[in-house]
Symmetry: C2
Subunit: 82 residues, 2 copies
């Protein structure tokens, strides 16, 4: 399972668009705060594994490209508990 | 732009998994309440247009398949204002 505390140290790439509070800075970017962690994990993996190509996928795919499953679980845990 | 009132009448397919309150009934399903409407629209269009194939896409694609752009805007407006 994800570790929110560890995730807090892994959101360097995320905060520019999703902030530390999870609020998308533009209407096109989703709010992540309080989102279901399991869903966030599946979305991040879909971006990482090339299963999402529409909308903001061209931005998100490189962001997720180098994340391990544990990184993804930790980041998802962090934003879901906000 | 979307009409939340009209959207309320178009969420028949959505409520089974997302409820009328937008809360995903399972951790794998996203919460939609308070999500950015523009993001919800882009996500629904990505499912409809086959640009999302990972995770829950096999469930979501048929749900979105017959939605018009206006339907999508209205449904997004409804859930975003919760």
């Amino acid at each position: 399972a994800g570790d929110a505390e560890a995730g807090k140290g892994k959101i360097g790439l995320c905060v520019a668009c999703h902030g530390t509070d999870g609020k998308g800075i533009m209407p096109m970017y989703p709010n992540l705060n309080g989102q279901n962690a399991t869903y966030l994990e599946s979305a991040l993996k879909a971006y990482r594994d090339g299963n999402r190509t529409g909308g903001t996928a061209p931005i998100m795919a490189p962001m997720a490209a180098n994340l391990s499953d544990q990184d993804i679980a930790d980041i998802a845990a962090y934003y879901s508990q906000l």
